[in-house]
């Protein structure tokens, strides 16, 4: 996978991040990762492995201390409309309605003077896509957590970024809503087909959503392995999490993560029985 190829949209070479407080803490040590055009790539790893830091570096909001990142072969500098970011917690503007939150990026100068009708039409289409019809005029405080993240996804898609970056967007939701939104995201991805880099610590979520899963190791964070998820698409209607192929992948990823989890400082091995129960 060395060297830029046509199918690669974002390429990271030796991306590192060190914080210097009292002593230097290396959060990321040389991450090499190619993100292919229109693929769904999940980044998983134990907490504190720097996966979110890497995502923020790709978004351009955090600067790397070493290495280089390119988008379509050109080096990236700072944040831009090319890369849309969806945050873990709600980042909607509470003073704007659902409609205005989604239209926010379309009304900027960077959107190059789109007419009122054009904006209304694209926002309406996005509202249909994420299933928020009837909630256009609600403000974020009147929305449930799931609806907030639907709005955030629509707002992010509005500016038509080349790459979607998602930082554990369903982490704060209850299990049931998370399940619904995972399927919704699958459906949206399988409809829109946009390159997505998705950070999570949930192995099942990663398998369900992605084409490939990149596993990170902790402190300092590096890419430890990349696992292909060869489950057929479209999945949003049909994929079962009891599917043998799914379970095999889950076991494999658990195995990859476990060494690191047991080595991390806040591991409680006795409680982590999920893996052993999954064994036949």
């Amino acid at each position: 996978m060395a060297g830029p190829s046509d199918s690669v949209i974002i390429s990271a070479r030796g991306v590192g991040k060190a914080f210097s407080r009292r002593d230097v803490v290396t959060a990321l040590a040389g991450v090499d990762l190619d993100i292919r055009r229109s693929e769904f790539l999940c980044l998983i790893g134990p907490s504190g492995c720097g996966k979110s830091t890497f995502l923020y570096i790709v978004a351009g909001l955090v600067s790397a201390t070493s290495g280089e990142l390119t988008l379509d072969g050109r080096p990236m500098r700072g944040p831009s409309r090319d890369r849309g970011l969806i945050f873990q917690e709600d980042a909607l503007y509470p003073w704007l309605s659902v409609f205005d939150n989604i239209a926010f990026g379309l009304r900027l100068r960077a959107a190059r003077a789109r007419s009122r009708e054009e904006i209304a039409a694209s926002v309406a289409a996005l509202i249909r896509l994420v299933g928020l019809q009837g909630f256009e005029l609600r403000v974020p405080t009147e929305l449930s957590g799931g609806m907030k993240q639907r709005t955030a996804i629509a707002a992010c898609l509005a500016t038509e970024p080349k790459v979607l970056l998602m930082d554990e967007p369903f982490g704060a939701l209850d299990a049931q809503t998370r399940g619904i939104l995972q399927r919704e995201l699958l459906r949206i991805h399988e409809t829109v087909g946009r390159t997505t880099l998705f950070v999570t610590h949930d192995i099942r979520e990663a398998i369900l959503l992605s084409d490939r899963v990149a596993v990170m190791s902790a402190r300092p964070g590096t890419i430890k392995a990349i696992v292909d998820v060869d489950l057929p698409r479209p999945r949003w209607r049909s994929l079962q999490e009891q599917d043998p192929a799914f379970l095999r992948l889950e076991r494999h990823l658990h195995g990859l993560l476990d060494d690191d989890i047991y080595n991390s400082s806040d591991a409680v091995p006795a409680l982590d029985t999920a893996t052993s129960l999954a064994e036949p």
Binding site: L61, R83, F104, G105, A110, V139, P161
Partner: protein, 283 residues
């Protein structure tokens, strides 16, 4: 202000649709729940005034009202109140005109904070009433010295609140704006200003209240009109009713202005008050 008392437990037990005499009476009582303390205070005042029987020390509230009414009829109170109003509003407008932009610039640009921060920290603790003699020296005993003192007093709470409001903007809101390609001026107008608006209103409320306090003091030191002057005049003439009538007018006007600013902030920052209620409901 409006939402809290709705849950007063005493009246909650009365179903709103009940139409018997008792529950109607209870509802009526509930409606005036915020007035009882004032009525009680005035009653105590009357009793005290009657017991002491020394109008020079404490005139009865009725006598104060009568004096206020006659001052209103003679036009005296109007002249004084409008003189004070004019000064406080002009001074307040100056304080806003300087405090809001400077607060935004200091909150947003590190260099502005570095340059102005120490001057602000050093001049804020100076009691602004202490500036009255200086301003009289500089600007004479005319309107300018009073307006300047009020502006100086209102300026600091406005500045500090706007500054804190800008500094306290959720960084995620700024990050999100940056990932959709927002320009620096657009960040200011589309993210920072709306997000900091509630803090600006807090600054305006505090600034307005302080403007009144300082105004009255300034008018006592050097003025020929205004409510502060009238109060001092009443004291010198041994007309305690006039003193109280002046204080009453100040209290009412100050209350009125606070309410106007509060209503404006609830209208323009309704999202902020909803956030507060949500937090309350969740705890």
């Amino acid at each position: 202000m409006k939402a809290g008392p709705k849950s007063a437990p005493a009246i909650r037990s009365v179903p709103p649709e009940a139409d018997d005499v008792v529950s109607r009476f209870l509802r009526l009582c509930h409606r005036f729940r915020r007035v009882y303390s004032i009525v009680l205070l005035l009653l105590a005042w009357e009793v005290f005034a009657f017991a002491i029987n020394d109008p020079l020390f404490l005139p009865s509230f009725i006598a104060v009202l009568k004096m206020a009414w006659s001052m209103l009829q003679s036009g005296q109170l109007i002249v004084d109140a409008s003189a004070s109003l004019q000064r406080s509003l002009i001074g307040f407008a100056f304080a806003m005109a300087v405090g809001v932009p400077l607060g935004i610039l200091m909150g947003w640009f590190r260099q502005w904070d570095d340059f102005w921060g120490s001057i602000v920290s050093l001049s804020n603790p100076i009691p602004k009433i202490g500036l009255v003699p200086l301003f009289v020296l500089w600007f004479g005993i005319g309107e300018l010295s009073k307006v300047a003192v009020i502006a100086a007093g209102g300026f600091f709470p406005i500045l500090i609140n706007v500054y804190n409001g800008v500094r306290g903007v959720n960084p995620i809101w700024i990050w999100r704006a940056r990932t959709v390609g927002i320009s620096e001026t657009e960040i200011l107008f589309k993210v920072i200003l709306p997000a900091a608006l509630p803090a600006m209103f807090t600054g305006a409320r505090l600034g307005m209240a302080l403007a009144w306090v300082i105004l009255i003091a300034a008018e006592m030191v050097a003025a020929r009109s205004g409510l502060g002057f009238r109060i001092l005049y009443g004291q010198q003439m041994f007309e305690t009713e006039v003193v109280f009538a002046g204080l009453l007018t100040i209290s009412l006007l100050g209350f009125l202005f606070d309410r106007v600013i509060q209503a404006l902030s609830q209208k323009t920052c309704s999202w902020y008050f909803r956030l507060g209620h949500q937090a309350q409901a969740e705890t």
